[in-house]
């Protein structure tokens, strides 16, 4: 699948033609709507709230925020940021209810501290990983964005960012930037291993609000069906029980490591790691 992020900047890619195509495609509309609903489920808002829509585009996700019924916790008021004037133009024509502003999320989030109950971002933050000029770097843009977002959310607030990482490295870079900014971060993967895999970065500001779990990020998905918790932090701990250097287990571990790197590795047999016979 082609990735527009690789070739152009967001504001250049989404010109009038692309923005119209994007907004009128019923396929994209459906996908965006289902992702927004999933994100709302993760935000778990109790009442009408003030939400920041990061990369709001033509307001496809915002429309759902303002159309929620009272029993679903809505309708929410939202403020949308986007870098593409053409997308915002279409949002104006569609007469969305939220407030719009033209801003680059890689330059920070210009709101005062503690302004929002929650933030939502649908298919936007992977754009931060492509820096189009020499004076900005993806890491710098990510840091500015997450620092700004962290500050603008209230204590106990949550942010859900759905994004399409290009590879594992990019996925790692985005999550690490969020953790560095102070967020409690977790990744939720929908339909893992299929072509329709959707990745949600769930971020919490300040602990304590999630009951019983001491503010742990896994508390966000508590009570949700079909969600398996894979805790990478626990795995790290279990890896620390080191195998003895030079033992058979150690050799096999090293061979697996090399194999993952793509090196040519001799196959493991019954002779692997065995002591040589004494010659004399």
């Amino acid at each position: 699948m082609s990735r527009p992020e690789d070739t152009l900047a967001a504001d250049v890619h989404y010109d009038d033609v692309e923005a119209r195509k994007y907004t009128t495609s019923s396929r994209i509309q459906n996908i965006q709507a289902s992702m927004t609903r999933r994100a709302l489920e993760l935000l778990d808002l109790k009442g009408p709230s003030l939400i920041l829509d990061v990369g709001c585009g033509s307001g496809l996700s915002g429309e759902i925020l303002s159309s929620l019924d009272a029993e679903e916790g809505g309708p929410h008021t939202w403020i949308g940021m986007d870098v593409s004037p053409s997308m915002l133009d279409i949002a104006l024509q569609r007469d969305v209810e939220g407030d719009l502003m033209l801003a680059d999320i890689g330059q920070g989030v210009p709101f005062r501290a503690g302004a929002f109950d929650a933030a939502i971002s649908i298919s936007a933050i992977q754009w931060l990983c492509s820096a189009e000029t020499s004076d900005t770097s993806p890491a710098g843009r990510l840091t500015r964005f997450f620092n700004g977002l962290y500050a603008s959310l209230k204590r106990g607030g949550r942010a859900v960012c759905q994004f399409y990482p290009k590879n594992d490295q990019q996925r790692h870079m985005i999550t690490q930037a969020a953790v560095k900014a102070g967020f409690g971060a977790g990744l939720l993967e929908d339909d893992p291993g299929t072509k329709n895999v959707k990745l949600y970065l769930v971020l919490t500001v300040g602990g304590g609000s999630i009951e019983n779990n001491g503010g742990d990020i896994t508390g966000v998905v508590e009570g949700m069906e079909d969600v398996d918790v894979l805790d990478a932090r626990k795995q790290l701990k279990s890896n620390n029980t080191t195998v003895k250097k030079g033992s058979k287990a150690w050799i096999i571990k090293k061979k697996e490591q090399m194999e993952r790197k793509g090196k040519v590795v001799k196959s493991t047999s019954k002779f692997t790691g065995r002591k040589r016979r004494i010659a004399f």
Binding site: G47, P48, S49, L50, P75, H76, T77, I79, M81, V83, L88, L92, E97, D99, L100, M101, L102, A103, D104, Q107, G108, P110, F111, R112, G114, A115, F116, D117, T133, D135, T136, R144, S152, K154
Partner: protein, 127 residues
Amino acid sequence: MKILSINFLSCAIKACKSSSDSFPLHAKDAELVQDEIELNPDMIINVLPRLDWAALRTTSSELGFPQLPEQPPTPFELKADETLLKDLHHLLLETQISEGKLVCGNCGHEYAIKEGIANFLLPSHLV
């Protein structure tokens, strides 16, 4: 740009982050439009403690609205007083700046508002 959003926006320039004058942004040459939006009392009560009342008073007097009371109403008062609730709703959500500028009190940077959309894009040396 709604008055509610202006109450949360501060200057985006890096050097202004540490200055207290960078908030609130001052409206200049503002053209206002009114929009009908359904009243949502829970929303206003939810946002009320987070509003910077002094900044809201400044903004509303700059835009030529009647003077707001000096102290913010408590959520309890607001629930009881429907006219106050409606007035706040009208000011915060229904009133929009369609054309004009937002000016930072510290560095004087002007953020243009066109068709209700504020332009917060900055040249890279200011970020």
